[in-house]
């Protein structure tokens, strides 16, 4: 499965770069994250609850950052396994300064999934992945704003953690949107 997209952040490339290195922010942004910690240079270990349609369970795995070119680009390798199956992904992330305190993030990667997740969740996985990404960006946007203003005000940033319930609601919304799009009954 190919994962590709672009997002515009309100912050400098350096701020965005740092945001993505903050395990607290990242675990707040990714739904179902039970644990995320740095275990070595650029190696993170994470435990996540994943639910794709009828398939649910805990995934544990590693995220490795390589090819770092601060604050412009890096490569992300994710590998995880759990009861619902496994996933493996490699992606490149490019940050571009758009001026006016704005940074665009372009990402492109290839994700491979297997096990129950692939066999039974295949129809839903595309939408679920997009939902996770969209929701994560929404939270990251807020986190970045909070971080920037907290920095300016010299206080601790306070992040809202997304609940699995929020995430489930988003996925459901996106799925319905997709179905409507397919049947052509959506106005837009």
């Amino acid at each position: 499965m190919k994962v590709q997209g672009e997002h515009l952040f309100k912050g400098t490339p350096q701020q965005v770069w740092d945001l993505f290195r903050d395990t607290e922010v990242m675990s707040a942004a990714l739904p179902g994250t039970k644990k995320m910690e740095l275990i070595g240079e650029n190696i993170y270990e994470a435990v996540m609850n994943v639910r794709v349609g009828p398939v649910a369970g805990e995934f544990s795995g590693q995220l490795v950052i390589s090819n770092e070119n601060y604050p412009h680009s890096y490569t992300m390798t994710v590998e995880g396994r759990g009861k619902p199956g496994f996933m493996k992904g490699v992606g490149d992330v490019i940050l571009k300064d758009q001026g006016g305190n704005q940074t665009s993030m372009e990402y492109v990667g290839e994700v491979q999934i297997g096990g129950k997740l692939a066999a039974v969740g295949q129809r839903l996985i595309d939408t679920v992945a997009k939902s996770i990404i969209n929701q994560a960006f929404e939270i990251l946007d807020n986190a970045l704003t909070e971080r920037v203003s907290a920095d300016a005000e010299g206080r601790e940033a306070d992040y809202r953690k997304s609940s699995e319930r929020d995430y489930a609601a988003t996925v459901a919304k996106d799925l319905i949107k997709n179905v409507l799009k397919r049947t052509g009954s959506e106005d837009s």
């Binding site: 129950k116 692939a118 039974v120």
Partner: protein, 782 residues
Amino acid sequence: MKHKIIGKRVKRVEDPRLLTGGALFVDDVNLPNMLHAAFLRSDYAHARIKNIDTSQAKTIPGVVGVYTAEDMGDAWEPGPPLVSPPPTLENVIFNSRRQVPLVKDKVKHAGEIIAVVVAENRYIAEDAVEEISLEYEPLPAVVDLEKCLEPDSPLVHEDLDSNLAAHLIQQKGDYQKALATADLVIKKRFHLDRGAAAAMENRGLVVDWNEKDQHLMVWDATQSPIPIRNGMASRLGLRTHQVRVVAPFVGGGFGPKIMMFYAEEMVLPWLTRQLKRPVKWIEDRRENFYATTQEREQIHEVEMALSREGRILGIKQKIIHDTGAYDPYGLTTPLNTQSHSMGAYDVENYYSELTVVFTNKTIVTPVRGAGRPQGIFIVERMLDFAARELDLDPREIRRLNFIPPEAFPYNHEIIDQAFTDLVFDSGNYLPAYNKALEKIGYDKFIQEEQPRLRAEGKHVGIGVVPFIETTGVGPYEGARVAIEPSGKISAATGVGTQGQSHMTSFAQIIAEVLGVEVEDVSMVTGDTAEIHWGTGTFASRGAVVAGNAVNAAALDVRQKVLALASKVLKTPEDELELEGGQVRAADIPEQSISLGELAILANPFRGAVEPGTEPGLESTKYFGPAYGATAFGVHGMILEVDPETMMIKIHKYVTVEDCGTMLNPLVVEGQIHGGVSMGLGNCYYEKLHFDESGQLLNASLADYLIPSASEMPHIEVIHENTPAPNNALGTKGVGEAGAIPVPAAFMQALENALPEYNLEITETPLSPNRLYELLQKKERNK
């Protein structure tokens, strides 16, 4: 015989039990003290196992044991080779690699078994499976049929130099010579993809080792209980009489429930002997998609040489056949493809090179049709393309090439799946073909209906395709028929029953021969305690091979009845008749004796028995044909396609079937209806999607679509009868026929419905998505 029952539409004797919930299926077997097994299966298609940790799983309350390959010790050995390579051909490469009970070091397809949990119930067993932790080293998967032969391809079996499983060449005549004289040569490439058998009942096993009487009792949802009994006994070091295998009512077979020696059939008997308790395992649907064998993926490069008039001068073909991770079933399927690649036609020159490859996918063994649909697809599609090139009517080119009735027996000079000469025993193709054209209303459709509907903007098309099916192959089957003192008949045969109505159609044979009612015959199929020798239900052979064994045994019993009755009634044998359970003198009906009384007389308590006689009115006979019986048929359909939505509706479906003598036409029609539904699945609905890493992406019935009543058309079945000359009943098989020509007929109709696109469909199955892609490609090229 006066009393005509063969060929009658007799209601089935097995139905009342099935209809009221009273029939025994494997999962209905519940024994005291029974344990339940669940398997840990690989998520990866290709991976090395680094470590297995079962300690956590073992701590779960209710878990009795968790076992890996290591625990099996010396009992660990691969499954037996089921079908060896053809001994009659020279220069055959065949690398036999058989499935294993539990994976030791390297996983070769997703779903392969790594460990087994035995627990007090299935729920606990499944919980414990999730607690086994595994370390894998994922390896690149071998998926593509052509790339897998490239020198840098990863290897499924690392002890081999390549992924080549088998290679052989079969030829007849001289294709090169034919090529030299040809007016037209057509070359095409075909890709046929995988489908599932998807019987409604998944596989299942209950095994019970009784330590005290040293017997293993097995209930197995199998098509072949006798080979399973033999194999289990041999693997466990037991005598065959110590093992009884019962295939009770089986919820559909369609090929994969053959004597595979699936991993579960190797592991469970070992477990019950270890634990001395009964163990049950019932496959779930997801396991069925991974672990039960599949079929049909092949790539063909085909060349057909023709004369200007449309006569086929020769066919040249290169086949790559996917056997999946192992090849326990030898070359049966691709040999069938070769046997059917000349269709119903008189082809003098044939050259076929077969390459079989290993891939990291589920094992391939026959599925209803077993390589035949691929052969028919190739030859019929090629004829359609040739007719177009030569500007011939597709009907004319077929009529021109049919094997004429006087040419039978027709020897194709190659070998078939049974390793015997591919000889078509009999046939009369042209009248059946013409009848199908008449019944579908070909002329009227082309001349009137299609132009009218096209003018209304509708895309309707017609497809009519003839086919042959080699059926009823050896080696043999047996049957035992006995008259009980009650006058009722007990009979048994070794083939299993998965819905083919054996208990009725075989009873019809016996009832007719012995002059009793069908209800008086109790037919046991699939119990090794009832008959010792046999092979199984496959290759459309039940009615031919087992049917003729039943007939032979019944005739022998009839002879014993006549001999004894002649003495008792003091009437010559040829003046006696069997009617209503009585033997009587034809002219003097009151001079009679019942079969039951004769059975008692044939088993005397006291007194001297004449030397050389056997007690009882019983006989066991075997039937083994020198070569099979070749059935013929024609399928025609009129379909409509909506080029906006790609939805297809079949308006009319006609089949003409010539399966020789029919034992029960109701049953024959039912077989054909079911075959067509699987065939239509193979056209447009059913495709197993494996991704590049060998993951099956649609392993549920929600994603893998088997036709429902909404997709199925009404099917009209017309019977022709060219009796098989080499068996007493004159039967030919029909179990697989329905599925064989459907994709070829469907694609012909689809092309006919969309003439503006000038499609040349060389693949199956399509899907709405795939058809959309094909039409888009044509649009772009316009």
